[in-house]
Each structure stands twice: as C-alpha cells, then as structure tokens.
Assembly symmetry: C2
Homo-oligomer: 397 residues x 2
C-alpha cells in the first residue's frame, strides 16, 4: 500500500499566502476594473540594483561562452560569494564568521523549511505566536507534534522571554515577521544564555536585517556572547537586495555546533547540513550568485541601501496614517512590516479592506491565534501605490 505521509493532514491544506492570493483573485474576477493594491505578502516591487543587473548580465554572458562557463557549482555556494558574505555581513560588524561557515542556498524560506530535517522527530520546538508559518508547517509535515507557542503580545513588546521554555529548538526572527518588532541585545543574549544552559539550538531568521536603522539593535545573533555554540542564522537577499524572484539566501552553521545521538555521541551540524544539501539540492543558480556578489560592491551596497531606505520611507507613511486614524501600530521602524491592532476579527478586517479600499493586507490570525485582532501591513510597493493605499484606507477606516 502506498501510504501517504499522514502529517500532511495535520496542516491547513493551503499555505497562508496562497489563501490570500485566492481571495484576491476571486475579488478581482468579480470586480475586474478594481485597482487592487497589495500590501499583503512581503514581496518587493522595485527594480534590482544596477550593479546587480550588470553582474547578472556578465554571468549570463559567461554561460553563453563569452566568459568562463559554469556548470554544477558547489552545493554550498561559490567561494567568491561566501567570502564576500563573511567579510561584509559579519567581520566588518565585528563578528567572527568564516566563509566556510556560510552555506548559500536558493532562499531563506527553503533553509527555514529544510533545516529541521537534521533532527530527530522527537525534538521539541518553540516558535513565537504569531509566527512565519514555514517554521511550524515544516515541522508538522516532518511529524513533530511538540510545538510550543510563545505568545508575542503588546504586553511583552512582541518579544517573548525564554523563561520556562523547555524546547530543544527555538525559532527566533528579528526584525520579526510578522510583527516588525526588534529584539534588544539584552533580550537576544537572554535567549543565547538559555540555549547554552539547556543545550538547545536557536534557529535565528535574520531575513529582515537590512532594515535595521536604530543604533544598538543587533543585526546578527552572533553579536551575543556564546551564540556560535548554540545558533544557526538564516539570511536572505530577498528583502536586502530585492531577490524574491532571483532566489538566494544563506545559512550560517558555525564550526563545532553539534546535535547528539541517543547514546550521547555528538554530531556536527555543518557536515550534516552539507550532506542534506548535496543530496537534496544542487546549488543556487550561478547567475544569481554573481548577482548576490555584486550586492557587496561599493555601488551595490549604496544602491541596495537606497532601496531599503525607500521601503522604510513607505513604512513611515503607512505608520503615520494608521496612527493618525487611531490604530496602535508596532514595527515599521527597523522593519518593512507594520503590525496593526484592529481590535477585531482579522480576516473580517482583511475582507473589509479588500472590498472597501481595494487594499490587500495579511490577517494576523493567519500567523497564529495570538495574531487574531491584528493585521500585518507590508511596506513593499511603489510610493504612488502606498500613498493611494493610505488615502483609501483613511477614507474607509
């Protein structure tokens, strides 16, 4: 008998953003002339940096025989990119991470979803609530049932403390998706100390790191003392450099970071992750990796920073407007996301904004039960669309 993986029956049949896309498509079918503005899914809208585009053109020419042809690349990523990442994302911020500790992939979502494969089915997981659905769904699909939800509420400033948490693996994401909240250095250090005391692992999702502007907010978990002994960190070029359609991310797996067999034998995680990737993955596109390398050129750094500043400008506009309309808003300062207390049913508010203002947001309930009563508004759009959306929302709310 061809037995299905029954764990799939334990997750919602549709991924959150697929459900939103479906509702929006239905609405557009019924109202074909409506100009719907999407502040829902966190997808970039602005063109890639000219330095990145130029590098990808050169890489396409390499593949066309004008330069050196590149077939299968290293599953861990090309050295030219891993070196740049280690230098610019870590060493220049005073964090000692080597190129060998960086494993490039086709995106942070893939790494977030796949990394759990390295662990036994019986490990206990902790995630925030609300939460990026991939952390939970990928674990449920793998058969894990012991998933603790740590409420992220206005009371704790949307940053839960590890006190009392008995998980083997905690997923942390700062700047947070969906709340836009950031953790202070002291708050992250508390998690690192908790993990080292318990022998637990932190999977730190720093996909939105590039949006941090407030001095003192940590950019990497490795700014905390002892983090290399208990944490992997996942980063993305999607939001940093607009790569949502181009596909590149990476995971830092520090030297000597271990899990344990039932008999107590330590097994290093980096060789395990390498084995996973060499078996079930075949490297990110060469063209993509050349584009990612160019993010770290002087022009690339300036251009991608300008794009992030632009989205942060959008976030400020939305935050001011919603605050003026009397809503309590978190995030949007060091994050492209705003977490808005709508004091009511979040899917209802989603439907109301869609029909009354033709604006798409993400209902907080889609991120977990503690998200009920909130919506997430994304700042990824053109300035004209953001201004128009704000005008419509002010009118409709």
């Amino acid at each position: 008998m061809l037995h299905a993986n029954e764990n799939y029956a334990r997750i919602k049949p549709t991924y959150l953003f697929a459900e939103i896309a479906h509702r929006v498509a239905e609405y557009q079918r019924a109202n074909p002339s409506a100009h719907v503005i999407r502040l829902g899914i966190g997808d970039v809208t602005e063109p890639l940096a000219p330095a990145v585009i130029a590098a990808m053109h050169r890489a396409v020419d390499d593949e066309g025989g004008r330069g050196e042809f590149h077939g299968y690349g290293p599953e861990q990523g090309y050295g030219f990119l891993r070196e740049k990442i280690a230098e610019f994302d870590f060493r220049r911020r005073g964090v000692g991470i080597s190129a060998e500790e960086i494993l490039v992939s086709d995106g942070a979502k893939c790494d977030c979803g796949n990394f759990q494969e390295l662990f036994s089915e019986d490990v206990k997981i902790a995630v925030g609530d609300p939460v990026y659905p991939v952390y939970v769904d990928s674990n449920v699909m793998a058969g894990r049932r012991d998933i603790a939800l740590l409420p992220c509420t206005a009371e704790n400033g949307f940053v839960p403390s590890p006190a009392g948490c008995d998980a083997d693996i905690a997923y942390l994401c700062y700047p947070n998706n969906p709340t836009g909240a950031v953790a202070t250095a002291a708050q992250l250090q508390e998690w690192v100390d908790w993990a080292n005391a318990r022998g637990s692992l932190i999977i730190f999702d720093a996909a939105y790191e590039a949006f941090i502007r407030t001095p003192g907010v940590p950019h990497s978990i490795y700014e905390c003392a002892g983090a290399k002994k208990c944490a992997v960190e996942i980063r993305s070029f999607s939001k940093t450099a607009g790569f949502t359609g181009v596909r590149c991310g990476y995971t830092v797996v520090p030297d000597g970071l271990c899990a344990y067999h039932a008999d107590g034998t330590a097994v290093e995680l980096r060789p395990m992750w390498t084995r996973r990737q060499t078996t079930k993955f075949n490297g990110a596109s060469y063209i993509t990796q050349r584009g990612a390398e160019a993010v770290y050129s002087p022009e690339g750094l300036a251009q991608t920073k300008a794009a992030v500043d632009f989205y942060l400008g959008n976030a400020r506009i939305i935050k001011e407007a919603l605050s003026k309309s009397g809503y309590s808003v978190t995030g949007g300062d060091d994050s492209p996301y705003l977490w808005v207390d709508v004091k009511g049913d979040s899917w209802g508010f989603f439907d109301r904004l869609l029909t009354a203002a033709n604006v798409v947001v993400t209902p907080g309930a889609g991120f977990g039960s503690a998200g009920e009563g909130y919506i997430r508004v994304s700042a990824f759009n053109s300035r004209a669309n953001v201004l128009e959306a704000v005008r419509r929302m002010e009118k409709a709310l």
Copy 2:
C-alpha cells in the same frame, strides 16, 4: 536534548561526487601541472544556446526595471513555461499532459530527493543497482530501511523486470544513469502494469530523455497505457539544455494520482506536492524560467538539439575507442553515459586512470554493489578534451 536525525549515520558521510572531487583535488595538489580531463560527473561543458542566453538577458533587464519586474513567482512555476513544456515535451509526442500537471522546480535532483517526503516512513522502495545515489540516500535520510535493490546486469541488459518486486515505490531512470541503458516500450509497459496491479507508484526519472535517438525508444513513461494512474515523471533542463549551473527541472504529477492514509482514504499527490513546495521551496529563478521557455522557441529547439548531438558524437568516439581496446561498453547511443566493464575493482580502475591518463571517470561501485567491476564514462566535455582523453586512455589501458 537536541537529538540528531540518526538516519544520517546510516549513509556514507560523503556524497559520491564529493568523494571523487576530493580525490581529484588531492591528485591535482600533488601534480599541479597535470591537465586532468573530467569524464566523471555528468556536467555539461558547452555554452548555453544563444536563444536561451538572449532570453535570460531580457529577463535580467525585466528585473532591472526595463520590462515587467517579477518578484515571488508561483512555487509551481510560471504558466508561460508550464504551457510550453506541456505542448512540446508531451502533447506534440501524443501524450496528454496539461500545464497544471507540470510543477517546475530548481532541478531534477531536488525533485528526486524531495518527492519521497509525501509518503509514510513505512513505504517499501525499489531501486536499480547500480543507481543514482540520490534515490537511496534521500530515503535513508528520511528513515526508510526497506529498500530493495534490483540488479541491473549484463544478463538482463541492465533493465530489471518487476517480477517479484513488492515495493510501494519504484524509481526507474531511462535512459539510465549510470548505465546508459534504455528501456523498450514493452519493458516500461511491464512496469506500469505491475504498478497498477499492485497500487504502487513509479517515480520515473527522464533527465536524459533528450539523448534518445533510436526510433521506438519511449521518451516518457506516459507513452505507456495506464501510466497516468501510477507514475510521476521527473525531467531536467540540465542535460537537455545545459542548465546544470542555471537550475531548472520539473515533475509531472498527473490529475487524480493518489496515495492512501492508513484508513484507506485516498489523498491526491499533486495538492500534497504543491503543499510541500509552497512550504519548503519558493520557486525557480524567474531568469532561469525565461531561459527554459526559450528552449522551446524554434531557434532554442534547434540549438539545444545540436548541443545534445555534439555530446552524442563524443559518446560515439569514446565508445569506439574503448570497444577497440577490448572493453565491453553499454550505453552511449541514446545516452551521454557509457558503462564499461573493467573486469576488476572499479575504484582501483578510477585511480589508475586518474594517475596514468589524468582522466576522471566514475567508479561503478559508487552507484551500488552491482556497479563493481564497471566504470561510468560521461560524454560531457569539449571535443578536444574527449579526443585527448581517448588518446591517453588507449595508451594507458
């Protein structure tokens, strides 16, 4: 306790091709002036088709703001590509597969490795021996222990029969990697009939389909009656169009194809696969997909066929030379791979060819115990390198 997935301890710590790369690198370090020619890993060497290069340049410009910007794409692939695949790879060959049944990914290796996630840990697997290591390793890493090896030998023409096989899932690959053997329509039909009679699934890996030149050899499992009820088919642009560094493949999951819960409830595989991909994957690069679309333009079809013909020409040269040297050689007619009976230790032969001829091949034992006594020679290289490798092998053997 952070428990590791202990199944990783049951596979070799190093993936076959990583081990080969390691031995070659060691040799090159000791012999820096040696000009090593690689006929080992099946990696293309020739530039991509001009039509593909032009399409990727246009797609890079789209991402740079000169055309329509594309962020997150559908995890199943863009309609523009799925439609072309359905039309050219299936309908024009008389096989009724719709665009909705085609799910695009970043490569056939990923799909081969990931598809097993849809099934329970207790399903029984059957694979050929020798075999592409991904089928076995991905199942072992997921905890499956019941993996039957079907010997592929000179006696059965390297195509095992399903007689007596009690697997729930059989991985078939024709043209075969590593043996280069092809299955006749009658042989494939026997497998399809076996699967339908048993309620088993065939995962048909057709990554080398483009190399088929012999009339009557099936290009797709769906040429067999009843195959849509029991088979998925995995295809790749890697060898068809030289995309090893660009990353694109696809899997056909027909309408209505099901697995079963323990209580007998049927669950359709396509929604399951879609759920897996929407949770743990984020779509293939837009630039890559535009390149893949161009494979089906009139110029793209002619240019990619010419590249495959070129590699088949290499295969003929190698086959003639090795046959003349007295070796029995399978494959190389409808396949880029030649399977050579070396009548002895295959890693020993690998080392001997590396040191005496500076030619890299793949030891058959790396593909399974029935591969002992054979080597796989790949036809992917420049004509000059192939001629030089053949000259050196004739001298050394």
